[in-house]
């Protein structure tokens, strides 16, 4: 237990970092340390060697690209909240505002959150709902994976041992879209999600038909999951009863919550259903039925 790693590499360039990954495997990647430092201290995770990315400035950026934005892996949660260039993706700031506490937000990174792939991560559902694409880079080149293809299971991703999460690309948003982010935590601040949902939806101004809806949830399955049942709203003009019905279907079919130390499966399903129904109602501007 608790043995110190044999080697810690702290490269200053991406190329060196990729070389370490290629030549020194197995290497555990360290970003802001908010997860790994706890794992190491408690002895839950043992590592042979560590690649410390903190000094790789090339991974710290936010820039416009291909009609969207590309966010470097070392971008912190605080930067998600503060970067004016991310103003077109308000879900990011909404998520960041509720993310852990200030001390953690200053250290936790986008890449670290993705790489850890906790099922309770707040950022997973947001990136999923925003159709994010993860860019993995190795010495051999890059791979671009949409979030659903990247997040594979409980703390498991599609990243190969020789790859780094380099960045995430988010497509630009349409003016008709509305988004919502809701986290049901264990307390009002600095909490871990019991249920977390991000949702983006739009409807045609003329016909009133739903043109698109994308929602994903965390803490309700072994990984972030899409609420795929909501797709049946597309092309319809749902009323409040329809939203209630579809949210019940989503809460039944699209998740597989468990009882754990933070909450119960029954509660998670219930909260998910109520939260999703509410989010659909507000984003699609469906009038509430009396009662």
């Amino acid at each position: 237990m608790n043995a110190a790693p044999t080697a810690v590499y702290s490269p200053r360039s991406l190329a060196t970092a990729l070389a370490v990954l290629a030549d020194r495997a197995p290497v555990t990647v360290l970003a802001g340390g908010t997860d790994l430092m706890v794992e190491l201290r408690t002895g839950r995770t043992q590592v042979a060697s560590v690649l410390d990315l903190w000094g790789v400035e090339e991974l710290r950026f936010v820039r416009a690209e291909a009609g969207g934005v590309r966010i470097g892996a070392l971008t912190t949660i605080t930067e998600l909240r503060r970067q004016p260039s991310l103003g077109a993706w308000p879900l990011l700031a909404a998520c960041a505002a509720d993310f852990a506490a200030e001390q953690i937000r200053n250290r936790a990174t986008v890449g670290g959150s993705l790489g850890t792939a906790s099922p309770a991560a707040d950022l997973g559902p947001v990136l999923w709902a925003l159709d994010a694409v993860v860019r993995l880079r190795s010495r051999d080149g890059v791979r671009d994976l949409p979030i659903p293809a990247f997040l594979l299971g409980y703390r498991r991703t599609a990243r190969r041992a020789d790859e780094l999460i380099e960045s995430v690309w988010l497509p630009g948003r349409l003016p008709t879209e509305r988004g919502a982010f809701v986290k049901v935590g264990t307390r009002d601040a600095q909490s871990i999600a019991k249920v977390v949902v991000a949702l983006v939806a739009s409807r045609d101004a003329g016909s009133g038909q739903v043109t698109a809806v994308r929602a994903a949830a965390g803490s309700v399955a072994e990984r972030t999951v899409e609420l795929a049942s909501l797709q049946e709203l597309v092309g319809r003009r749902p009323d409040a009863a329809a939203l209630l019905a579809v949210s019940r279907v989503a809460a039944s079919r699209d998740c597989a919550p468990i009882d754990d130390v933070r909450s119960s499966a029954v509660y998670r399903r219930h909260a998910l259903q109520r939260v999703v129904c509410d989010m659909l109602t507000s984003t699609l501007e469906v009038p509430l039925e009396d009662g």
Binding site: R187, A189, Q190, A251, S252, Y267, R269, V275
Partner: protein, 725 residues
Amino acid sequence: MAFVGAFTRRPDADAKVRGAARYVADLDVPDAWLGGTVRADVARGRLVRIDRDPGFDFTRVVVVTAADIPGRNVVALITDDQPLLAQDAIEHHGEPIALVAAPDRATLLAALAALRPVIAARTPCFDMEASAVVWKRIAIDRGDVDAVWAKAHRVVEGTFHTGSQEQMYIEPQGCVAWPPDRHGVVVVRGSLQCPYYVQKALMAALDLPAERARVVACTVGGGFGGKEDYPSVIACHAALLARAAGRPVKLLFDRHEDLAVTPKRHPCRVWHRTAVAADGTLLAMDIDVRMDGGAYTTLSPVVLSRGVLHATGPYRCANVRVRGAVVATNHVPYGAFRGFGAPQTCFAVERQMDRIATELGMHPVALRRHNALAPGDRTATGQLLDDSVAAHAVLDAVVAETGCARMPWRTQKRGRRRRGFGVSLFWHGAGFTGSGETKLKSRVAAAVLADGRVEVAAAATEIGQGTEAMLRAIAADSLGCGAADVALTEPDTGRAPDSGPTVASRTCMIVGGLVAQACRQLRDRVGGDEARPFRDRAAAFVRDGGDGRVEVEYHAPPGIVWDEANYRGDAYPVYGYGADVVEVEVDVATFAVKVLRFCTAIDVGRAIQPGLVRGQIEGGSLQALGFGHLEVVTTQAGRLRQDRMATCIIPTAVDAPPMRVLLVERPFQHGPFGAKGVGEMPADGGAPALAAAIEDAIGIAVDAVPATPERLLAAWLQTHPEEAL
């Protein structure tokens, strides 16, 4: 009076805001080794042997087992049934089996992993209702309840549950021990509330006379009862290791270990049956209290005692029957936590009062006002209340502040976010229960130093509550000198007499009372013209050969009589009173509870340091609100489920509501400057008022706390089955 009742800066503040205060983990101890504990990984069993991994070089470390204890293998407290190190029987998860000291953390962890206890598991008991082993039973009888039921207007029954709760002082527990010095004296410094408790335990474990067991309390990073009894275990373990290693040993828990093995609030079930008249008069109260004591006796008998003595609430009732039992299970022993049994029984009786109000169609404020204890009334033990009775005063104060007496109770609310309010009325006996103080015979000394300052020696510890500022103000005003002319000794058994443990809301009333008494005697002895500064007169007095040292001992106020065998008489010298009003908003989508407003009125007799008293009330109240809905402590197979701070949550600044604190001062004739106690009382009223507010908001009975969203949903689905998925 210059200092009592005034706002003064607490003397420990300057060091604390600069990071200069030294807590146990901050002590620079050259050559110290680190200690650790090998623990049982089952809840019940028999220790067969302890295997040693041959791959580890044990000459690098020191190992201590039960066989190495020179004295008695017990944690000396009330009943000596708890071993310091398991010898044969394992009674709870995490029970200590062996100790290791090593020069560094990595070696320590390796050694701990290389010691492998072999335990034959036995069937544990985790159900307190099924437990046949009783640590303590208590019965209180007044009048004849059975003669009342038939003629009552209504008979109301209810069963109420309260969960465990973690003290969550932010500084984990720990001690440093030194090996015997050349005089054979063993010194322990630690994060602890009760130096003389620890001394008693050390004497038993190491077979030492009192003068060779010296215990000093460091600056303590919060206690709340959690550092009342358990530091005895850590101190003895550290001292055993230091003795074996021949060098100082630091035994400092990390948060995980602290959560896993230190005592928490007793889980409790209370059953009530109450006979009421049509006008709301309480005619008979029949109450059954059962607490889970865990694997060893520890402090459970006294926790139960305070619990049953507060079980009727501050209400007048001619016929009372209280039955209490605290039973054995294979849980980690439960122990002291602010309130000490009273928050549990207070929750039950306050929810029962709300239930009665609902049955009678009475407003909960009106029902309480109608039955609240008044001067001339007697308690369930027959104690006549004739001095400093403030039940009506505190209730009136919160009613005037919030207007809650005019708010409709349990009307149907609509919408997703529903508001409600709840009220609680409570009391708390100041000082030890029954004859505890008389048996304890607390002592305090005051002595004039050569420069005319007065050194006050007491073993009361500063655990954040403000002991130093409070005792200094009492001493200064009793002497007629400046606060800077008073010095306080460290809480050190080598220097301060035994003024008793820092528990039970007793430090101000009992220890403060002794300080006042000693200082008044000293003032009289020094005499002279009081127009001259005391310091000058005192310096001259000792220079001229006067005896400038006074030591006083506690005697119960005249007329205080307690019959321990029959639980009759004056259970406490006096009670403090409190009333809370909580307003909440409950989201019926997520069942998240937001406390919007909190108002509390607390009668402390006299606020010696009003700023500190407010701090005690606000902090204690937030703990009570946490107990009510946020703080979950549960076990699985005897093992704590919330074993990290990430899961064992307490309120943040966002969860805490704005608080309105109303100080009510009904002086107690036998308290120093009229003061009673304040420490525990705020822990009593928050949870029932919060539960009542939730009930008012969403119309479902809240008979158990913590009222988590999961629990509220389950109750909601009982009455709204159409919402089930």
